[in-house]
């Protein structure tokens, strides 16, 4: 599948920036308003999913490889764990190590924004990677068995 019609492609290209922006907004203001890392991450993943659907999995795979998704996902997960472990600086697992009141409203949440960011990164990259893999699998399935994904062993 080489993607959809030029209309879809153009509109996707116009929209994707706004979708990603909204996703990041939802992630960053998670501790202040409804939303959070997970919802924002899925919004970002859905935006990327739109790109995959519009342009075809192969095109996307050439631009941003599947390995990138794995890398970002792993980094997000490690980041979350790291923020949790940094709590030991001030005492226990998951304790806030970031001061609460910095004056700026976005940073009143202690380590919450960082956790949100890590989750958003992880979920967005992970779901995008899984969907890309699925789309590629489907195309490989169509184009004949055992073509497509190479074995990285």
């Amino acid at each position: 599948m080489r993607g959809m019609t030029p209309i879809v492609k153009t509109i996707t290209a116009l929209l994707i920036g706004f979708i990603m922006l909204f996703g990041f907004y939802v992630i960053l203001t998670g501790h202040l308003s409804p939303g959070g890392g997970f919802a924002g991450g899925v919004i970002c993943a859905a935006g990327l999913l739109l790109v995959v659907l519009a342009f075809g999995a192969d095109t996307v795979k050439e631009r941003m490889g599947h390995n990138m998704a794995v890398l970002w996902e792993g980094l997000g997960a490690i980041g979350f764990l790291a923020v949790a472990l940094l709590g030991f600086i001030t005492g226990t697992f998951f304790a806030h190590f970031v001061p609460h009141n910095l004056g700026v409203r976005l940073f009143t949440g202690g380590s919450m924004p960082y956790l949100n960011l890590a989750i958003g990164l992880k979920v967005g990259a992970g779901l995008f990677g899984a969907f890309l893999m699925l789309a590629a699998f489907r195309e490989a399935e169509r184009g004949g068995r055992d073509k497509g994904e190479g074995d990285r062993s």
């Binding site: 409804p34 899925v42 979920v123 699925l134 489907r138 399935e141």
Partner: protein
């Protein structure tokens, strides 16, 4: 007052619809749908547990942030109108878990369809027993 239990019972009815689909349907996609229905039923049950009549979201209005309002007033206002935030957090976690399970199931359905050429569970029986 039937309204004190009816919403919970309706959740259980939805749960049972899902359970029915899982147990009785022999199409693989229907089984997946049954599981999603079941998850949704449980999520709804949890959300309804935390419900309180004014039904305002558990978000502290900006006027009540520590530096602006009297703390006790803010707490008391929150107590009088807000729903329970804990079940909502649980449901959020549960939704994520549901999505992960669904993603895995979809992948397995694809692979099974590739191997067997069908979604029919009565034909997907290479295992004995």
């Amino acid at each position: 007052m039937i309204h004190t239990v009816l919403p919970f019972v309706l959740c259980v009815v939805l749960f049972i619809i899902g359970l029915y689909a899982i147990a009785v349907k022999k199409n693989l996609i229907k089984v997946i749908i049954g599981i999603i229905v079941m998850h949704n039923a449980v999520n709804m049950f949890l959300v309804l547990i935390g419900f309180r009549p004014p039904a305002s979201g558990p978000v502290i209005a900006p006027i009540m942030t520590p530096e602006m309002g009297h703390r006790d007033e803010a707490v008391r206002a929150l107590l009088s109108h807000s729903v329970d935030p804990v079940p909502q957090a649980l449901v959020l976690t549960s939704i994520v878990i549901g999505l992960s399970v669904v993603a895995l199931m979809v992948v397995m359905a694809l692979r099974l369809h590739q191997k067997y050429g069908t979604f029919d569970l009565t034909q997907i029986t290479r295992l004995k027993g």
